[in-house]
């Protein structure tokens, strides 16, 4: 009988081996595919059941998790949702996460590499692992002011610290309320989403970095000026013909100068005058003279065509290729197919302000684990040298003139040297509406902030009354601190 007992034991051993192999298959080899299975809502429950870290601005939480009584343990709540909605994004059961909720998902949920030690500790202590909180670089007063200045119109404002790259304000208007989309009531979330997506003003779009892209219009002349100075063919005094209309080569249309400026006063213009009054024809001639590649290269030096994450994904700005002369002429004044984001425009000014060195724009100041120890901190990062310090200094001077004597006078702040450039993008609207721009920085000798302001669908007068004065208020807000 002992032989039979031994054999039965061996059969038992075989059964245990098979069971261990089956468990190994399910828990190791098939684990990934099972976790990715569409019926598997565990990761969702995991995310929504965890105490996610807060997104803080100036020490105040703008996105945070509150204990909830429903199936999920926590409800995400957004404070000042309209001003911050495009930054925080939403954390939705139905639509997943967007904005920083997505970009910083690992940190906020406690799953980043830096938090590995915390996870190990909580594994042994049995504590619920908690996500890290993230403090943004945003200046809360500036952000709110920028949102208010946009008055609910379509537009965007971006403010950067040119020396560190820290993003001080980033507003897209109109705003939306992420609380509506983060609700655990799926039906109301779906209804809200359909309403927001159907809104012709596109409130869900973050125009600052990821909108349909704008034509930079005359703000692009800053890049033309850099290209001209870098070529060595032009300096501040070089006289360029300044006809009121420039026939576009190969076409029967002409490129007119900016009607509201003082361009008509001089048939010949140097760079200073051309930029001050934003005369189109001198820049078109410079572009035709330097060629498409030189302009595009300069644009690239300022970040056109380059991918960027702040850590929100920024849509790369575009300078078109294979242009004929008329297209190049139009492109040189930021029309035709040149497309940009307000962040790119602000980055261009910031590079000029920072002696030609472009700093990487960043939104995250500190990441703190749940025990408040800092696990990541903003470290200013040089993105690229956009131009030489000399050229940057020259362009900076020229941009100061634009505010002092030129058409961006509305941005002038008493007692402070403000550099700036306006732009009016013709968008082909029948009512003569444009996208109105301002970009610049202040103070010119010790830049604290670089700005881009854009209002969509405004007539010229309204644009002028909105952009530069808005910039003035923002400059004052930063400089009076």
């Amino acid at each position: 009988m002992n032989r039979a007992i031994r054999h039965t034991w061996m059969a038992g051993t075989a059964i245990f081996t098979v069971l261990l192999l089956a468990l190994t298959y399910v828990q190791f080899f098939a684990a990934r595919s099972l976790e990715a299975h569409p019926w598997n809502n565990r990761s969702l429950y995991d995310q929504f059941g965890a105490d996610r870290g807060a997104i803080l601005v100036g020490g105040e939480p703008k996105a945070y998790s509150e204990p909830s009584d429903d199936d999920f343990e926590y409800q995400r709540v957004y404070a000042d949702p309209l001003a911050y909605g495009h930054l925080t994004g939403y954390f939705s059961l139905v639509y997943g996460a967007t904005g920083l909720e997505a970009a910083l998902g690992e940190e906020l949920s406690g799953a980043s590499d830096e938090q590995f030690y915390d996870r190990v500790v909580s594994m042994f202590s049995g504590d619920q692992p908690r996500g890290a909180s993230v403090e943004l670089t945003i200046d809360p007063e500036l952000q709110q002011q920028a949102y208010d200045l946009l008055q609910g119109r379509k537009g965007s404002i971006v403010a950067l610290d040119p020396k560190s790259g820290a993003i001080l304000a980033m507003v897209s208007s109109p705003g939306y309320d992420p609380n509506e989309l983060a609700s655990h009531d799926s039906a109301s979330v779906i209804a809200a989403s359909e309403r927001l997506n159907g809104d012709p003003d596109g409130p869900l779009v973050n125009r600052a970095i990821a909108g349909d892209l704008y034509a930079p219009a005359s703000t692009f002349k800053v890049i033309d000026t850099v290209a001209a100075l870098e070529s060595g063919k032009y300096d501040r005094q070089t006289q360029i013909p300044n006809p009121q209309e420039l026939p576009l080569p190969g076409t029967d249309v002409t490129l007119p100068n900016y009607v509201n400026g003082g361009c008509a006063a001089r048939p010949q213009a140097d760079l200073e005058f051309a930029l001050e009054q934003s005369c189109n024809t001198p820049f078109a001639q410079i572009a035709l003279d330097l060629g498409e590649d030189a302009i595009r290269q300069t644009a690239q030096n300022f970040g056109y065509g380059e991918p960027l994450s702040v850590p929100l994904q920024v849509t790369p700005s575009l300078f078109p290729e294979e242009l004929n002369d008329s297209q190049l002429a139009l492109s040189s004044i930021g029309q035709y197919d040149v497309r940009t984001t307000p962040l790119q425009v602000a980055m261009t000014s910031a590079a000029i302000a920072n002696d030609g060195v472009q700093m990487k724009p960043q939104l995250v100041r500190t990441v703190r684990s749940s025990d408040l120890s800092v696990i990541d901190e903003l470290s200013p990062e040089q993105l690229r040298r956009s131009t030489s310090a000399d050229v940057a200094a020259t362009v900076s001077d020229l941009m100061v003139e634009v505010v002092d004597d030129g058409i961006a006078g509305g941005a002038a702040v008493p007692g402070v040297e403000v550099a700036g450039k306006t732009g009016t993008a013709e968008i082909g609207s029948e009512e003569g509406l444009n996208d109105a721009w301002f970009t610049g920085f202040a103070p010119a000798d010790d830049p604290q902030v670089a700005l881009a302001v854009v209002f969509e669908d405004v007539d010229v007068a309204t644009g002028a009354s909105l952009t530069s004065p808005s910039a003035k208020q923002l400059f004052e807000a930063v400089l009076n601190k």
Binding site: R3, G12, T13, F16, Q27, D127
Partner: protein, 588 residues
């Protein structure tokens, strides 16, 4: 009638000088140390599932800690007193598994508003008390052999109980519960033990007849129908009732037990093959005839079919969610209290393995399986070591039940086989399961005690000889007293013979003669008496200075009926019993 106190077995244990070769130590201290570890695991797990409540609401942790700790200690003391050679690993393994089970049930209570942990702690106390009583009163497991047929009847009754109207309770399509005073009980869990006892008792008595009698057809010798009839009756009761009760898991379990024990008794693989063919035929038949069996098969094979998944009841959602749970545990698990085992239905009973897989990972659930493997291995070890066929069959059979149950449970949740509702021994929420598995552990402990208890062989010491001499002197004295009494009665009869009838007296005489030949061992059956007489003759033949064998020495006054069995099993079972110095097989 006079009885002679047999020499106790204690001298054999204490007189190490008289034994040669390795001697099993009681190892109760090892057990105590391991028990501390096991209780620590149980209490630690209960704390870890929700450390934040430790300060405010600790009644559960206190209660479970007290039950596990005091229960372990009491059982340990019982073992010291009544079965000190019992296997030292079995009890700690069971305590650890039970403690982990309570922790997981408590943990699932916390997220699902159930309150199963309190009743589980209560049942743990009841089950441990039952195990203690079994160990206290079952000093020799061979007593169970006497109730072989009672167990058959009991099994039948237990399995039929849930079918009684008013008493039986149908839950989730299976009618395997009874409800008494608001509490539910699964009698089938206890039937697992009674059936094992019946199989062991029946097969240990009749295995020779099953093996040797009957016609030989080709290479297969078919046993006579009447030798196998009670076995088939038991099998039919189990399977038949379970078909009506719609509990596939238990049916597989009982049939597997039936097959394993026939194989253990006969060493004939052909029985297994026949049995598996019967399973295949029965399974096919059941899947064609019974809708619930077909649904089980469908949700196994097509678990990821949306239609099957969403079918209610009987869809594959439970197994699929269980697989998701296991996979989310991965290698290291989410950590106790940090997964979502509540997403799986019946997470604290049938699916508790997935809860452990999720929170402790592959490593943790493998460790739990290794604990079961250790338990089962010690059970088979006890079966190897014990000397009587009944004990061998019972220990091996009960161990096989645990293996089969785990196979059904773990195989089910990993989708190796169709998922059928069975509890995980010692872990799942459920009083009947806990109670019967603790009783199984107690029986295995009792058998392991007889397996590991040293038996003296080799040259006897002076003390042994003196003891034997005293025993034989007592026997002679008893015989003499008997003879004297008989002589006196004869004289009285002779005195009365003058005028009285005497037919009855001669009949009484022969009866008295038989009793005199068996002074210490009252026979249970005529057959046993005959064998026992032979054994007693062998004892007197060896005489002082000869070799003693286990079968020759009665273990104690309560060892009646066992000795002939041993002698019989020694006659038929030659495997592995060479000229050894100890009979316990060197169990470690």
């Amino acid at each position: 009638m006079s009885t002679v106190p047999a020499p106790s077995s204690v001298p054999a244990a204490s007189s190490a000088a008289g034994t040669a070769g390795p001697v099993q130590k009681p190892r109760r201290f090892t057990e105590l140390l391991l028990l501390v570890v096991a209780v620590g695991i149980g209490v630690g797990a209960n704390i870890l599932v929700d450390p934040e409540r430790l300060a405010s609401e600790n009644e559960h942790i206190l209660a479970s800690g007290l039950v596990l700790g005091i229960g372990s200690l009491v059982l340990h003391v019982v073992l010291r007193l009544r079965a000190k050679y019992a296997d030292p690993y079995v009890l700690p393994v069971v305590v650890a598994l039970n403690g982990l089970g309570i922790a997981m049930i408590h943990r699932i209570d916390l997220t699902t508003d159930q309150a199963a942990a309190g009743s589980q702690v209560l049942w743990t106390a009841i089950a441990m008390a039952a195990a203690g009583l079994v160990l206290w009163f079952l000093k020799d497991h061979r007593v169970l052999r006497r109730i072989t047929y009672i167990c058959l009847v009991l099994s039948g009754v237990l399995l039929l109980l849930p079918l009684l109207p008013g008493l039986g309770l149908e839950l989730n399509g299976a009618r395997i519960w009874i409800s008494v005073g608001g509490r539910t009980f699964q009698p089938g869990e206890v039937a697992k033990i009674t059936l094992a006892v019946f199989f062991a008792g029946y097969l240990s008595t009749n295995r020779d007849l099953i093996l040797l009698a009957g016609k030989k057809i080709g290479p297969v010798r078919l046993p006579r129908f009447r030798d196998m009839a009670p076995m088939f009756a038991a099998w039919l009761i189990a399977i038949g009732v379970l078909v009506f009760q719609r509990d596939l898991g238990s049916a597989i379990l009982f049939f597997g037990l039936f097959l394993a024990m026939i194989y253990l008794a006969t060493s004939r693989l052909s029985w297994i093959v026949i049995g598996l063919l019967l399973v295949a035929a029965g399974g096919f038949f059941a899947s064609q005839v019974f809708g619930h069996v077909a649904a089980r098969l469908d949700s196994w094979l097509n678990a990821f079919d949306p239609e099957v998944y969403n079918r209610a009841p009987g869809g594959s959602a439970q197994i699929v969610q269980g697989l998701f749970g296991l996979s989310s545990g991965g290698m290291f698990g989410q950590g106790l209290g940090q997964g979502r085992p509540d997403l799986v239905s019946y997470a604290n009973s049938d699916m508790i393995i997935t809860a452990f897989g999720e929170e402790l990972g592959l490593i943790g659930v493998s460790a739990i399986l290794m604990l079961f493997f250790l338990f089962v291995t010690r059970g088979f070890r006890a079966a190897l070591g014990t000397r009587d066929a009944f004990g061998k069959l019972l220990a091996a059979g009960l161990s096989a039940v645990i293996v089969l149950q785990l196979f059904v449970v773990v195989g089910g949740v990993t989708r190796l086989i169709p998922l059928t509702g069975l509890t995980t021994p010692f872990m799942s929420a459920g009083g009947s399961s806990l109670l019967s598995n603790w009783i199984i552990a107690a029986i295995v402990l009792a058998i392991s005690h007889t397996a590991r208890r040293p038996v003296v062989t080799g040259p006897a010491t002076e003390e042994d000889l003196a003891e034997v001499a005293a025993y034989e002197a007592a026997l002679r004295e008893a015989a003499a007293r008997d003879a004297q009494e008989r002589a006196e009665r004869r004289e009285r009869r002779a005195a009365r013979r003058t005028g009285d009838r005497a037919e009855d007296d001669s009949a009484r005489d022969t009866g008295d003669d038989a009793t005199a030949a068996q002074p210490a061992v009252p026979p249970t059956t005529a057959q046993a008496a005959a064998v026992d007489a032979a054994a007693t003759e062998a004892l007197s033949a060896t005489g002082p200075g000869g070799r003693r064998t286990a079968a020759d020495i009665p273990h104690g006054s309560d060892a009646d009926g066992g000795t002939p069995t041993e002698a019989m099993s020694r006659l038929t079972d030659q495997g592995g019993h060479g000229p050894r110095s100890t009979e316990n097989g060197g169990a470690s």
